[in-house]
């Protein structure tokens, strides 16, 4: 909605909105800045905003002391792995629901999506027991599979909404020209579906990257990603704020970058389609 707004009102609104944005961004900004401070300046009083001695020593120290890079690699492997695994299962399912819908497709979709709202504690015990039985605790493969499973409904649903936007006429035209199912998928659908798949991948990597319930509960050292690392790092009440900030910055940097490009998908995915 938009109405006539006086210039003064507009200036006030803009000012207010920017102040709120600053307030919201402040903790993130502060964490990132602190990560580049030498440890004494990180807790200096009064706090130093920008005029400190910029250094990347914290990043080096965290790596030296905690072999932090391994956690980063785990995060990358697990989030990308679970996304790709999810796509393999979800693309055919979404394709089927979008292009060959049955009478109950909508119900099925809603039913799948509703499972994403269930609290994870409801399925924690069985998964934990299975993990013990199969020796999957603290393995990347186990965590990859679990994260794929919990995000599968979102992947299917996102892909479905994107596939739905592909006009059916094009398929009709391809069929008229004698394209079989294989040609249809290969030459018509795939090129049109790529942007939707890319958005889904982006959102799902963010979700998997941030996941902490499962990563904390199912890993200890070997397969632990950054979220588990930070949860462990923050518990000893040491005075290593610059180092903790460095670890946190590494954990949020990819999200800050990806988030900028995928705000729409983020809202769409996180609201379960309540907002388009």
């Amino acid at each position: 909605m938009s109405r006539a707004i006086t210039p003064q009102a507009k200036a006030i609104n803009t000012g207010l909105a920017w102040s709120v944005a600053l307030l919201i961004a402040f903790p993130i900004l502060w964490t990132v800045l602190t990560s580049f401070k030498p440890e004494p300046q990180a807790v200096a009083s009064p706090p130093i905003f920008l005029g400190f001695d910029w250094t990347i020593q914290n990043y080096i120290d965290v790596q030296d002391q905690r072999a932090y890079f391994r956690y980063f690699v785990n995060s990358v492997v697990i989030s990308i792995g679970s996304t790709l695994l999810g796509l393999i299962i979800a693309i055919p399912a979404a394709w089927s629901m979008a292009f060959v819908p049955g009478a109950r497709t909508k119900d099925l979709l809603m039913w799948m999506l509703s499972t994403k709202m269930m609290p994870a504690v409801g399925v924690l015990v069985p998964i934990y027991l299975i993990f013990i039985r199969l020796g999957l605790l603290d393995t990347r493969i186990g965590l990859t599979v679990v994260l794929m499973l919990i995000n599968l409904p979102i992947i299917i649903w996102m892909l479905y909404t994107y596939f739905k936007e592909i006009p059916a006429d094009i398929l009709e035209a391809a069929r008229m020209d004698g394209a079989g199912l294989r040609e249809e998928i290969l030459y018509v659908l795939t090129p049109m579906a790529v942007p939707g798949i890319a958005s889904t991948v982006l959102l799902n990597i963010i979700l998997a990257w941030n996941e902490s319930f499962w990563t904390i509960n199912l890993t200890t050292v070997n397969a632990a990603p950054l979220t588990a690392f930070i949860a462990g790092f923050s518990s000893p009440q040491g005075l290593f704020y610059a180092k903790l900030s460095a670890a946190s910055t590494m954990a949020i940097a990819p999200i800050l970058i990806m988030g900028w490009f995928s705000q729409k998908q983020l809202v769409r995915g996180l609201t379960f389609g309540a907002v388009k």
């Binding site: 507009k10 919201i24 502060w30 504690v121 924690l124 941030n210 388009k276």
Partner: protein, 297 residues
């Protein structure tokens, strides 16, 4: 002879393929969510301790669960947390949406900033907030250094007030996201209606109070459902920010379930608490989804 047979096979394949490719997703959801939930429900009726046992004890676990003071604390905390969180988030989200809707400068730049907290892991933001709220190094110390000697902010160390620290951090995390939901709702309102109301002499306040807010009803409903399920699921933020403490003052059902199942080896009681949480979420979600479905058909 072979040609019609292959053609027939092909047609049948094309008929069956959509169902076949849907089957894995269906099976996985059915087993992983409903199968495992069924197992949790089953466990909640057994005397499982450290490992699952299959001796049926009826409603014993539920009786014991509701006799535990610890559980009552967790329920009380979630009630305080969830109601404050939902109300404050919706209010701030709505206000932010109204601001952003006034054609302000740099909206495209501000929107992602409002959304950022939601995109970050609760563990990371919880850690940042823990630091900020800690009297020894955070807000209190900074204020004192800047000359406000009597400034005290020790909520996070206070049994009665620590829960509000979780509300603050959670509101910070989700308000921008709620804003996005309301903004979409606001943008969907027909301008003509508003113009007509203005011509009729409605003040700005009346405009929002009588027309805009009632028209945002669907957005309020979605916000409520999403916020309430986030509140009941809240685990990582609590773990990162207070770890359930000081004492048990910020214990939540999710942290309760975890500690009873894994540290206290009371798997049966842990499972029964999980079942109660599941039922609460289902009670909120099922009517909503049902309404959504009816609308879309």
């Amino acid at each position: 002879m072979t040609a019609p047979a292959t053609a027939d096979f092909r047609t049948r394949l094309q008929d069956w393929l959509p169902k076949m490719v849907l089957a894995p997703s269906f099976a996985v959801t059915l087993l992983f969510v409903y199968g495992f939930i069924a197992f949790t429900v089953l466990l909640s009726f057994t005397g499982s301790k450290m490992l699952p046992k299959y001796d049926f004890v009826g409603l014993d676990n539920y009786r014991r669960l509701f006799a535990l003071e610890h559980w009552h604390i967790a329920i009380g905390n979630i009630a305080v947390f969830a109601s404050l969180y939902i109300v404050i988030c919706s209010a701030i989200g709505l206000m932010l949406a109204i601001f952003l809707d006034q054609k302000i400068r740099g909206e495209g730049f501000l929107r992602p900033i409002f959304l950022y907290p939601m995109a970050l892991s609760f563990i990371v933001t919880g850690t940042a907030w823990k630091w900020f709220l800690d009297p020894g190094i955070g807000l209190e110390k900074v204020m004192r250094l800047w000359g406000w000697e009597s400034f005290t902010f020790t909520w996070i160390k206070d049994n009665d007030l620590a829960i509000y620290c979780i509300v603050i951090a959670a509101v910070w995390q989700t308000s921008g996201f709620v804003m996005a939901m309301f903004l979409a709702g606001l943008r969907g309102i027909d301008n003509e209606i508003l113009k007509a109301a203005q011509i009729d002499g409605a003040s700005n306040w009346q405009l929002y109070r009588r027309i805009v807010i009632p028209m945002l009803r669907p957005a309020f409903l979605s916000a409520f459902v999403i916020l309430s399920h986030l509140a009941i699921k809240s685990y990582d933020l609590v773990v990162a920010l207070t770890g359930g403490g000081p004492g048990r003052s910020t214990e939540m059902p999710a942290t309760f379930m975890y500690s009873y199942t894994f540290t206290r080896n009371q798997m049966g009681i842990g499972a029964s608490s999980a079942v109660i949480m599941l039922m609460t979420i289902a009670a909120i979600m099922v009517p909503y989804l049902y309404a959504e479905l009816k609308e879309k058909k």
